[in-house]
């Protein structure tokens, strides 16, 4: 409103001086309304503003697309206020579904006003730090904005789907019972091998067919132990490979995959750690159970793709963070140069599962249908197919996720495979 004050001041000055110069009383009189207006604007502006804002959210942890009711109370402890524009400033990624966050209100001394509105939003961690209030005096010479501090935090977790089991087969497992085959004989469900009978073996474990071929020996069936495993989830947040279009980004699919898989592994009892590889290394130390799930989800709620000169390539991936021989799950759209690094990691003893949201199927949605785009898509598909085959030949499990399909459906294909040491490509 500074502009308005200058404008009205300038007009009144000009009129008075023009009136004095030309000795025209009308010109001087014309300045009077402007001077009165400036004066009234000043004296009607509230001297003391004493407002207390309170905000309450119906739920503080939710999932994308679910409605959240926000109620705002404002109490006026100061003098009466008129024409207050109260704006509960919302982050960009939240949208109002019902009601309004912006109100014009009049408040008498001691009065409390409340209103409610509903928002929906995308994944993210949102802080409601302040409410903006614009005052307008009776004559609008000034329009002052003030921010009042408030409390409120909304966490919208990434969408997850429940997967019963994700089949992994790392070289090493931990000592506790779990669901991951441990590559050693013992108590379990799946047949592992046959060994000589030892005293104490249960009779129903004796392999009678093998024993019949050797009259003086008995043989016992062995089953594969099932243990918990160390799983390191690597979320690739490099900006240059996470393409985005309008409000959509392929990174969101990677986050969904990371959340779903970490949830599934933790449900299996595995020890899960998360590394966000993007602008910097965001490492969540491995752990078990619900607390670890909460830690990982909090990180996944806030992660964004970022650019870093150091971490533009996967070659700086700090594999020492993960226990030797453990299972790594890389979630990345992948580029050609990533294959070399992945093959090296595979060679030093890690089992790698690559979940790759398909950037071609993602980008295809936004491309016009033309012969040139069709040809370009074909070339890119061939290139990607070659890249994935190269990884598979190197002993890496690859899931090429067409993002138009639900993630659980794609991972279920992986889960059904019993030959875990062979690689799976779902194209």
């Amino acid at each position: 409103m500074k502009k308005s004050i200058y404008l009205l001041s300038l007009i009144s000055f000009c009129l008075i001086f023009a009136g004095l110069l030309t000795l025209n009383p009308i010109l001087i009189s014309m300045a009077i309304p402007f001077v009165i207006y400036l004066f009234c604007g000043q004296i009607t502006f509230p001297v003391k503003v004493d407002l207390v804002f309170t905000r309450s959210l119906s739920i503080e942890r939710t999932f994308p697309g679910l409605p959240v009711d926000i109620t705002v109370w404002v109490h006026n402890s100061g003098s009466s206020l008129k024409d207050l524009l109260v704006d509960d400033l919302l982050p960009d990624r939240l949208s109002v579904e019902h009601g309004s966050q912006r109100h014009i209100i009049n408040l008498k001394h001691g009065e409390t006003v409340q209103w409610k509105y509903t928002v929906k939003g995308k994944r993210g961690s949102y802080n409601f730090d302040s409410i903006q209030v614009s005052f307008r005096p009776l004559l609008g010479i000034k329009n002052e904005k003030t921010h009042f501090p408030t409390k409120g935090k909304l966490m919208i977790f990434p969408e997850i789907t429940n997967i019963k089991r994700v089949a992994i087969h790392p070289h090493r497992t931990r000592v506790y019972s779990g669901e991951v085959p441990a590559r050693s004989g013992g108590t379990g469900v799946n047949f592992f091998g046959v060994r000589k009978y030892q005293s104490g073996d249960p009779l129903n474990a004796i392999n009678w067919q093998a024993s019949a071929r050797h009259p003086y020996d008995l043989f016992t069936n062995e089953y594969e132990k099932e243990r918990v495993a160390d799983v390191g989830i690597i979320l690739d947040g490099r900006e240059r490979i996470n393409i985005s279009n309008q409000d959509d980004s392929i990174f969101e699919y990677s986050v969904v995959a990371a959340a779903t898989l970490s949830n599934a592994f933790l449900n299996q009892g595995d020890r899960v750690g998360l590394l966000h590889y993007g602008k910097f290394l965001d490492w969540t130390f491995p752990g078990y159970g619900k607390i670890q799930r909460e830690r990982i989800f909090r990180v996944l709620t806030a992660v964004e793709p970022g650019h870093s000169l150091v971490f533009s390539y996967l070659e700086y991936l700090p594999t020492r963070l993960f226990p030797a021989g453990s299972q790594l799950v890389l979630i990345s759209p992948l580029t050609q140069e990533d294959s070399q690094v992945l093959l090296q990691i595979r060679a030093i003893g890690y089992r790698i599962l690559v979940i790759s949201p398909d950037p071609i199927s993602f980008e295809k949605r936004y491309l016009p249908t033309s012969s040139s785009s069709h040809l370009a898509l074909r070339i890119l598909t061939v290139e990607r197919e070659l890249l994935l085959r190269k990884l598979v030949r190197g002993g890496i499990q690859v899931v090429n996720w067409n993002v138009n399909e639900p993630f659980d459906k794609v991972v279920a294909t992986l889960g059904r495979s019993h030959i875990l040491h062979s690689s799976v490509v779902v194209v």
């Binding site: 004050i5 000055f13 010109l27 009189s29 009077i32 024409d83 309004s100 109100h103 014009i104």
Partner: protein, 166 residues
């Protein structure tokens, strides 16, 4: 309601100089006033704040010109007052547009209309009164008055500037 009031006030404020110019043989300025009015109403629909300031300056200049060209007339004072009020209403409409919720707006509009009516009464009364005051002074007293007016206005504007925190 406020849109209607704005249009009515704008019509009054710019039709006064248009009629005065028409009657004194300057129809070109009448057409100019009509053009400004049309532009002002159109820009209000579009929410162009810059045009509001521009029209105020042009409207005051037009009134001042008519005061110099035509015999001093009280209607010019009324026109200027209504011009200022229309300008205020334009800003007020922009303020109302910012609110998504319309439940409390009608009450606010009524209050604003009342304030404006009081202001119009005060401004027109004082302006009219000032026209009929006749003071016979010497050149020296006139100079002193000019200096005092300037100092007073500067003090008022400084006060406004400090209180707005700019």
């Amino acid at each position: 309601m406020s849109v209607l009031v704005f249009r009515l006030l704008a019509l009054i404020s710019l039709s006064i100089p248009a009629v005065l110019f028409w009657h004194t043989g300057f129809p070109i300025y009448s057409f100019f006033s009509a053009a400004i009015l049309t532009f002002w109403i159109y820009s209000q629909n579009r929410g162009w704040q810059w045009s509001n300031h521009m029209v105020l300056v042009v409207g005051v200049a037009l009134n001042a010109f008519s005061a110099l060209l035509i015999n001093p007339h009280l209607w010019i004072l009324f026109s200027t007052t209504f011009l200022l009020i229309s300008w205020d209403y334009f800003n007020y409409l922009l303020f109302l547009k910012k609110a998504d919720s319309k439940d409390k707006i009608l009450k606010s509009e009524k209050q604003h209309f009342l304030n404006i009516s009081l202001f119009i009464g005060a401004a027109v009364g004082m302006s009219t009164f000032s026209v009929f005051i006749e003071l016979k002074t010497t050149f020296l007293i006139s100079i002193i008055l000019v200096i005092l007016t300037t100092i007073g206005l500067l003090q008022l504007f400084r006060w406004l500037k400090i209180s707005t925190g700019n």
